[in-house]
């Protein structure tokens, strides 16, 4: 069953203080919404049949895209569209992209197929992104300086993680927390270490690989240094990455804009890749 609470749900959630209260209120609201949807108009079974007959040929029976049409099931930019926006795409088609108009399905048919698409998307809530993603992009590559370290869709730096798909499958509040910082722990492979060698050479870089004997650090110019740990005068783990805390650097609006950019332009994550990233496959 799909559940589509309105934007008010998210606002209410955001306003809630404290983790326990937040999850509790989310639970209650979702439960309410769920009960409500049981009596709602949309018929996902009918929508599924319509999808199979009209959409699956190009978008694939699971909606994850095919030779002729993109992924509309797990692509964040599609998931984040409202029901009204999705309906408009279906009703009017997408000029120039090969997507024809499906207005012949009628309002009822379109409502059903959107409902079914939400099932394919596995969504339990509509993602309400309030920021301006164009402004966010300008900040990312401009004054916020994100792109000096981070890459987004092939543009940007290399010393920090590629954020092209970061906005997929992550709660907005987690993105917000990661940006305003400070971080609680540096993710593996991103911790800054400070080193003094026996010869008195001082080095600082990102710890990319380590065992009991050897540490490999990468400097911000990209070069690597392999160090025998036993031969170091000092090996200081700073506990943090190069990521600065943006708490006082970005306004609330700017933060929303950057988040909107990260989410709206995020690449979909393949479920298998997600497992690999979290190490669950090991």
């Amino acid at each position: 069953l799909q559940i589509i609470p309105g934007a008010s749900v998210l606002k209410a959630v955001t306003a809630a203080r404290g983790r326990v209260r937040r999850s509790l209120s989310l639970f209650i609201l979702l439960a309410l919404a769920s009960a409500y949807k049981l009596h709602a108009q949309a018929d996902t079974i009918a929508g599924g049949k319509t999808f199979a007959a009209n959409c699956a040929g190009c978008h694939g029976s699971d909606g994850r895209g095919g030779e002729r049409a993109p992924n509309i099931a797990t692509a964040r930019n599609v998931m984040s569209l409202t029901d009204a926006e999705l309906s408009a795409f279906i009703r009017n088609g997408v000029t120039g992209a090969g997507m024809p108009s499906f207005s012949f399905l009628g309002d009822r048919g379109i409502t059903d197929v959107v409902a079914y698409l939400r099932v394919l998307q596995g969504k339990t809530s509509e993602i309400k992104v309030t920021g301006d993603d164009h402004a966010g992009r300008a900040l990312f590559f401009g004054s916020a300086g994100c792109s000096r370290c981070h890459m987004m869709h092939g543009e940007g730096g290399f010393i920090a993680s590629d954020l092209s798909d970061y906005g997929s499958g992550i709660a907005l509040e987690r993105i917000r927390g990661a940006i305003i910082g400070p971080e609680s722990t540096a993710p593996t492979g991103s911790e800054v270490v400070e080193v003094i060698t026996v010869r008195g050479e001082q080095l600082r870089g990102v710890l990319r690989s380590e065992d009991n004997f050897i540490a490999v650090i990468q400097a911000e110019d990209g070069s690597y240094r392999r160090l025998a740990k036993a031969a170091l005068k000092k090996f200081n783990r700073t506990g943090h990455s190069l990521m600065p805390a943006y708490k006082d650097t970005l306004s609330a609006k700017q933060l929303d804009d950057v988040i909107a950019y990260l989410v709206r332009s995020a690449d979909p994550i393949d479920p298998a890749t997600r497992r690999l990233r979290t190490g669950a496959a090991q």
Partner: protein
């Protein structure tokens, strides 16, 4: 290597906010690619543009090779078979698995970054094995092909993707398994799918932008030169094969790329493709800037036995019949080792290396095979070499010191059957098949060929199940190192063929070895199964004096 880098860069010391914008030094420069002296670094698939897989490192010798030891093992996270030759630059190793890429600490095998891309579903034949033979690097950018024939450009410092170009269309039987080749600011790629009715090509992309610069179709469009070697008024050319699944070699002085092509398609049914079927089973001499064909030589016209000519075309400067010449040498899947003049494409010499060979009576003075009357048939015809070839893509090596050409070969025969079929997307296009008879006594050999005399100096018969697909590398101390047919990495004296050392890897190798050095210590690396193994002398043997010399 690392130490040198350190001196020239400011990894060091103070790093602060403004340093975040620092532009790193190039990892692989065009100059490094042009060098034919390979020591610490192995910056391209074959090491250098000549394709000879010859390392100038001298630490490991016939006298001390018996003291080699395994150093570390890397296990790939997705359990596909590794067919890649790793690249090593400044102590960092770059390797591909199945659609993914790794940067490893080449001294420990530990992962520095891992670029993950799921394998593609719905592929057929070779592409469905998701194998990949490695990367190319230029500047700070790393290039690789994917199983579904995309060219990826990654930032070699982080593994993050810069761009992704899908370079085939109109036929979903295309795939890719090779390593790209970087020449003069362009990245060159090919495809697999030659057994599946695709039309082969070599394509060049701007290394910075990924924009296509040129594309050379290995099966000509009707009306173009070479199209007269295909049936007129037929669209078989669209499915004619001639794929380009191994990286080429390059002669900077001639500014010419030598790219080899695979079998015509359908493999075993010649009736639907009467004629020589240019430019299948050929070596193409191409202008890297324009993709214009300078010359071609076809090893097996109108092939009926899947004798791809994709074996490495090795570029050698040597005396031939008393005159110094720029040569191209190739041990071909059809059972002959060839020498061509690489300036003109003139055929100079072919020597049979397959012990059992029955498809040709010989090669005539123009370089054209004189066929026997054997051909695949409905009831099956026993022909040799087998469909796996007298040799295959696993690397040969030319040794500058011994002046011998070493390559692995397979002595085997298959029963070839033919049945005319229609091309269909999603299905292989062999037009029936080749079978191995249990009565065949197949054997692999390591061969040492002297091009000056046209004779084999020695042949080393291998014991094993003939399932290995491992290549060879050779050293300035005259060693030849290869994966043998019993799941072992083995070292022989290149002059005599005498075995000096071996190590059991416990998995069948399907890859070609290479050599590199870190901090004055020489290593060998080879993939077997889903793991990569490295070997070196123990530190106690590596004399401090040698260490100083290395740098």
């Amino acid at each position: 290597m690392m130490r040198r880098l350190l001196r020239t860069t400011a990894l060091a010391a103070v790093c602060c906010a403004h340093a975040l914008h620092a532009q790193g030094a190039d990892i692989v420069t065009q100059e490094m690619l042009h060098s034919t002296t390979l020591r610490n670094n192995w910056p391209s698939y074959n090491g250098d543009y000549t394709g000879r897989r010859f390392t100038s490192l001298t630490q490991i010798t016939p006298a001390n090779a018996s003291q080699l030891q395994a150093q570390w093992v890397f296990h790939s996270r997705n359990a596909g078979i590794l067919e890649a030759t790793p690249l090593v630059v400044d102590g960092i190793m770059y390797l591909t698995g199945s659609n993914d890429a790794y940067a490893l600490d080449a001294a420990t095998g530990r992962i520095i970054w891992h670029h993950i891309r799921p394998v593609t579903q719905g592929l057929i034949d070779d592409a469905s094995g998701h194998i990949n033979r490695g990367v190319a690097i230029l500047g700070t950018r790393l290039y690789m092909q994917t199983d579904n024939a995309h060219l990826l450009c990654l930032d070699a410092r982080s593994g993050s993707m810069l761009w992704d170009v899908a370079y085939t269309k109109d036929n979903r039987n295309y795939g890719a398994t090779g390593a790209p080749l970087v020449v003069r600011g362009k990245v060159l790629v090919g495809t697999s799918g030659g057994d599946d009715g695709v039309r082969g090509f070599v394509a060049a992309f701007d290394a910075a932008t990924g924009k296509e610069a040129w594309r050379f179709w290995t099966v000509p469009t009707p009306g173009d030169p070479g199209s007269e070697t295909w049936p007129a008024n037929s669209d078989i050319y669209k499915h004619g094969g001639g794929t380009t699944w191994m990286p080429g070699t390059y002669d900077p002085a001639l500014n010419t790329i030598f790219w080899t092509t695979g079998n015509p398609s359908p493999d075993f049914d010649g009736s639907v493709r009467e004629g020589d079927n240019l430019y299948t089973n050929s070596v193409l001499a191409l202008d890297p800037d324009t993709g214009k064909l300078r010359w071609h030589y076809q090893f097996t016209p109108h092939d009926l036995n899947d004798y791809d000519a994709t074996e490495t075309p090795v570029l050698i400067d040597a005396d031939f019949k008393g005159h110094p010449r720029k040569l191209l040498m190739q041990a071909n899947r059809n059972g002959f080792v060839y020498i061509l003049d690489r300036t003109t494409g003139e055929f100079l010499q072919a020597t049979q290396f397959a012990q059992t060979q029955n498809w040709a009576k010989g090669i005539d003075s123009k370089g054209r095979p004189i066929r026997t009357d054997l051909a695949p048939s409905a009831e099956g015809t026993r022909m040799c070499p087998s469909y796996a070839g007298g040799t295959n893509w696993y690397s040969p090596t030319w040794n500058e010191r011994t002046r011998l050409f070493y390559f692995l070969s397979l002595d085997d025969c298959s029963v070839f059957r033919v049945k005319t079929q229609d091309f269909e997307e999603g299905r292989a296009f062999y037009s029936t098949g080749a079978a191995h008879l249990p009565t065949e006594h197949a054997h692999k050999y390591l061969n040492a060929y002297n091009p000056a005399t046209g004779k084999f100096v020695w042949r080393y018969e291998q014991t094993g199940d003939t399932r290995s697909f491992a290549g060879a590398v050779s050293t300035a101390t005259g060693l030849v190192l290869f994966g043998n047919d019993a799941q072992q990495f083995e070292v022989v004296d290149g002059t005599t063929g005498r075995s000096l050392w071996h190590f059991t890897m416990g998995q069948t190798p399907h890859a070609s070895p290479m050599s590199y050095a870190i901090d004055g210590r020489q290593y060998f690396a080879i993939a077997a199964g889903s793991d990569l193994f490295t070997f070196a002398l123990p530190p106690s043997i590596v004399a401090p004096r040698a260490k100083a010399k290395k740098n």
